[in-house]
Symmetry: C2
Subunit: 134 residues, 2 copies
DNA sequence: TTACCACTTCAAGTCAACTTGAGGTCAAGG
DNA sequence: CCTTGACCTCAAGTTGACTTGAAGTGGTAA
């Protein structure tokens, strides 16, 4: 059991953020000492996961679908598989983007974006683009 | 040369978004016919790149550092290399996250987040977390 | 027992990234 | 020449993800 300042210290998240996450149901406190929140150790991992998923560009709502909202009510396997697939896609896109940037960095073409080599590198990522838009 | 509705069609972005991107300097119109914007073909790739980088979780400001703001003023190689490295990191984290989710999906442990196998999968991504926080 | 102070709540403020709406303009077709 | 409609500008509104500030509370040390 740790209180909010301890969790704040190990996670690097300000207390306000942790309270906010609790409010929206991403984490939960196991109880109170007086009016002060007490968190289980598990929460540390949850918070790390949240940070991780966020840098990956997922919204708090999407993250909720991944790591679950309330305490236990078993994960939605279908949603989870879907998210995993979405991440797979993102990885492929990011890989293309990274390769594209690295290519630009030692490409001599006048206009990098028009460079056919660049466009070939990015091809997979760029062409799927029209379809992705809702 | 294409006008804003054509660009909107091929990119899937509403015209308002394209005007906004122009306002903040992510794209630019090559001129006007009357008061209507005209875009060069290059812009299509730029817009795709923006979409791509956005799903990867980069802010418009960061994207500006990758694909450049104005017309030409050569890319900042250092910044570009840095971004490529950041993407590399993200790829590693996403890979861990994906593997973690897939593991959860056929793990029988009561509390998935406490499952040692899960934690080992996520280890790389989770431990770097405290350091990442500014 | 009282004072301290780290916590609490709740409302309001902030910032990025857009969207919406009102009112204006101008090239093209009739 | 005149209307039409797709574009324009600019201000204000929206949403997600928080932060900030004012006012309250209650274990703990003195």
């Amino acid at each position: 059991m740790l209180d909010i300042s301890e969790l704040s210290n190990v996670s690097g998240f300000p207390a306000s953020k942790l309270r906010y996450y609790e409010e929206v149901g991403l984490i939960r406190s196991a109880g109170r000492r007086g009016l002060k929140r007490l968190y289980e150790d598990e929460v540390k991992i949850r918070v790390s996961l949240i940070a991780l998923a966020q840098t990956a560009g997922f919204s708090l709502l999407e993250i909720k679908q991944m790591i679950g909202a309330e305490g236990r009510p078993d994960f939605d396997r279908a949603a989870l598989a879907e998210k995993a697939d979405a991440i797979d896609m993102k990885i492929r896109e990011l890989t293309a983007l990274r390769n594209g940037l690295r290519h630009i960095n030692n490409c001599t073409a006048a206009n990098h974006l028009d460079c056919p080599r660049f466009q070939r590198i990015m091809h997979v990522a760029l062409t799927r683009n029209g379809q992705r838009r809702k």
